[in-house]
């Protein structure tokens, strides 16, 4: 086998074409893809690229760490639906991207990541700042390239954008040796894409859709599980229309939130480990489960043995490898969620006779709301509620990973799609704040709120420098419980309260920290103070940091303990004799609303 990729042959007339350096070809190719912003950090191996960028007219956001750059690109991609583009230098610059690549891979986010590499003449010799990024990134990218000649660059960039954004989206990395960026070549227009091994099935099989419609007509306890695939396909409206047409209630995965408005009377809320009782009950008891663009993550299914045990399972997914991977599937449908929903809506499907089921689920939802106990201090759940109330569920909310993330998912009632940015599959602490920066760059007119934990924020808080510099009015809400809260919760519940390394008594003074970075900072510990601050700061376009000192020791409930089934959910009721209990339906729209037949 050949060691290197085949070099393209020069087209006729190439000789007369103007010669460009590899770096210039790269910039030109990015422009032709419509790229208008890059997230990156320079260094030796990409100096030629940065030189070409100097007067190229593409915006560049200089984060303070490469991890910040790639998470910002993820936030940008999630909100804009367009690929986030990242540049980093070889060696440490590139290795700093590994977490973000893996995060984007697991959450199917389109990224094109360009890493510098040492010159081809010294590659393999442990040269200064050489790291084997091509092989390191192979398992955590959808595809990756190492370019050996400037003539390949235009084609590789074209392919990279195509692969990143089509089928199941994902990150694509291009490793670019330094000499390739300075060598000259004509700009070789990328011809028609030549990717015979990559032909995602978009249009679903009509026969399979027919089977699904028959199953729907027969079902009496149907439920739709809608994941991020619906959002990637930009099919939220179709999802709602399909649910309304058939009267089938909808459960969202963590990453699917927003596709159906949280207040919709057919919405049951989020399913899974910290989902609503009614969502999990529906997943457990249904006789037909229609999964649209979710991958049956273990945080959603709990013990898969007890997942939808009585159901006929239909699964619509653009990625055939997800079908049947975790849950046995009776009706596999490979295709894009939008294409599938369009066709389903065009079919004469008899709505299932599910009146009794909907009425039952409504009763379950009403009987099992979220709850928390007032303790005199600021409740983290209440912080999210306040933000939800004030923004009417219309802001862009990003989170980090931990308890605050789950509270945001439970209590923020998303009324619109593409407003929710969180690290689902990898659960990457440090994601939330830089992701908010990327989200704000993608949607400057929108209110962008980063709900973060005290521990996770400290992993990437160096990016505070960007708010002032790039005039980004991100609102940072720290749910400060002086703990690695989620770890503390598991230690309380499963490790006999042995709080091993999960308490964070020492914290920086976030107010001073904000001031040091030239932005307004506050610390609050009462609802009144917080309300006043939010009223003042939530709706202008200036950055603000609010350190919310919330009840320490609060737990996220309800919970399906690890390894347990959906029916083994605990913490659905407040403890006996708890005095001041607050009950909330959170994001289960079915509760308290009229649910009528379609």
């Amino acid at each position: 086998m050949a060691k290197t990729a085949a070099e393209p042959t020069e087209p006729e007339g190439a000789k007369e074409q103007r010669l460009l350096t590899g770096a210039e070809i790269l910039i030109e190719a990015l422009k032709r893809e419509g790229v208008d912003v890059l997230f990156g950090y320079p260094g030796g191996a990409v100096l030629n690229v940065y030189d070409a960028l100097y007067d190229a007219g593409i915006a560049h956001v200089l984060t303070r760490h490469e991890q910040g750059a790639i998470h910002a690109a993820e936030g940008y991609a999630r909100i804009s639906g367009r690929p986030g583009v990242v540049i980093a230098t070889s060696g440490p610059g590139a290795t700093n991207l590994m977490t973000g690549l893996t995060d984007a891979m697991l959450d199917s986010l389109p990224l094109v990541v360009i890493t510098g590499q040492v010159g081809t003449n010294v590659m393999g010799s442990d040269a200064f700042q050489e790291a084997p990024i091509f092989s390191m990134s192979m398992p955590v990218t959808k595809y990756n390239y190492q370019v050996r000649h400037p003539r390949e660059i235009a084609r590789v960039v074209r392919e990279a954008f195509h692969i990143a954004t089509t089928g199941r989206p994902g990150p694509v990395l291009i490793d670019l040796p330094k000499d390739v960026t300075i060598q000259q070549a004509p700009y070789v227009e990328a011809e028609a894409l030549d990717l015979p091994g990559y032909q995602p099935t978009v249009v679903p099989n009509a026969l399979q859709l027919g089977k699904l419609s028959t199953a729907i007509a027969r079902a009496v306890k149907p439920v739709i599980l809608a994941g991020a695939g619906v959002l990637h396909a930009r099919a939220s409206e179709l999802l709602v229309a399909f649910a309304e047409r058939t009267g089938i209630p909808v459960v969202h995965t963590l990453l699917g939130l927003g596709a159906m408005p949280a207040t919709h009377p057919l919405f049951l809320g989020m399913g899974g480990m910290h989902g609503t009782v009614v969502a999990n009950r529906a997943l457990y008891e249904c006789d037909l489960l229609i999964n649209i663009g979710a991958r049956f993550d273990d945080r959603l299914t709990g013990n898969p043995k007890h997942f939808a045990p009585k159901a006929v399972v239909a699964h619509i997914d653009i990625d055939p490898a997800e079908i049947g991977k975790i849950v046995h599937t009776h009706i596999p449908i490979v295709g894009d969620a939008k294409a599938a929903l369009e066709r389903l809506l065009a079919m004469p499907i008899d709505p299932p006779k599910a009146d009794a089921w909907r009425a039952y689920l409504k009763r379950v939802a009403e009987a099992h709301p979220f709850w928390y106990v007032k303790t005199g201090d600021l409740k983290p759940q209440r912080v999210v509620e306040l933000i939800d109330e004030m923004t009417e569920g219309r802001a862009i909310v990003t989170t980090d990973v931990g308890q605050h993330q789950m509270w945001a998912a439970q209590y923020y009632r998303f009324r619109r799609p593409h407003r929710w940015v969180t690290s689902g599959g990898l659960g990457t602490m440090g994601f939330g704040f830089p992701a908010a920066i990327g989200a704000k760059i993608a949607a400057r007119e929108e209110t962008v709120i980063a709900v973060v934990g005290d521990a996770g924020f400290q992993m990437t808080m160096q990016e505070l420098a960007l708010l002032k510099e790039y005039d980004l009015g991100v609102k940072i809400i720290i749910l400060n419980n002086f703990a690695l809260g989620m770890v503390r919760q598991w230690q309380e519940l499963f490790y006999a309260k042995r709080y091993s390394e999960s308490l964070l008594p020492f914290q920086p003074d976030y107010v001073k920290l904000a001031e040091a970075y030239g932005i307004a900072g506050y610390a609050v510990s009462t609802e009144d103070a917080l309300t006043r601050l939010l009223e003042k700061h939530l709706f202008d376009d200036a950055p603000v940091l609010i350190d919310c000192r919330v009840s320490p020791g609060e737990n996220v409930l309800p919970m399906i303990p690890p390894g347990k089934g959906l029916h083994e959910i605990v913490g659905t009721q407040p403890p006996e004799g708890a005095a001041d209990v607050v009950y909330r339906f959170g994001s289960s729209g079915i509760a308290g609303q009229e649910v009528s037949a379609p």
Binding site: M1, M138, I163, G197, L207, D319, P320, A321, I323, K325
Partner: protein, 174 residues
């Protein structure tokens, strides 16, 4: 269970890494893997023998392979009639006196002696893996000094007919 797969892959830098890395990451055990040119320029053929848990795992393997951008075709030969061959080189201890005996043993296997040394002979044998296993067992008493096996390479008889059914399987719309 054993799974026998034939892959057509783009002859790109790193393609072997991609495939073996996928098996490692997803916890599939490789019995053997062979790579070489195929009938089409720019494409290589890989023959892979895997040890998988069950049918469901075997299905997953195929889907994961098919998802690889450098993989053009995944053909499952497990339950197909195939032509499959492996080559082994076996160096066994052999005194002058034992050589005739060894010659006799290898005859029915259509193996042959490639090289003769002072105290050993090197035997070449081609065939299905079980045949090679059998020969090795027969030669073991003489003392095997060195052994090298290529792993199985294979394809289906009447490739085209079966393949169509196979592709449907892979994209799950059959």
């Amino acid at each position: 269970m054993k799974q026998l797969l034939s892959l057509l892959v783009r002859d790109q830098a790193g393609v072997l890494n991609r495939i073996s890395g996928l098996f490692l990451r997803r916890g599939y055990n490789i019995d053997s893997i062979t790579v070489g040119c195929s009938e089409r320029p720019g494409l290589s053929r890989m023959t892979i023998v895997l040890d998988v848990e069950d049918k469901k795992a075997a299905e997953q393997v195929k889907k994961q392979l098919h998802k690889q951008i450098d993989v053009l075709k995944v053909i499952d030969l497990t339950e197909r009639s195939v032509v499959a061959r492996e080559l082994a080189l076996i160096r066994v201890n052999a005194s002058m006196a034992e050589r005739a005996e060894i010659d006799h043993i290898i005859q029915p296997f259509r193996a042959r002696i490639l090289d003769v040394g002072r105290s050993s002979v090197t035997i070449e044998v081609t065939g299905g893996s079980e045949k090679i296993d059998a020969l090795i067992e027969l030669l073991r008493p003489y003392g095997i000094k060195e052994l090298a096996r290529t792993g199985l390479t294979a394809f289906a008889r009447e490739l085209d007919v079966g393949q169509e059914a196979e592709m449907k399987d892979i994209i799950g719309t059959a």
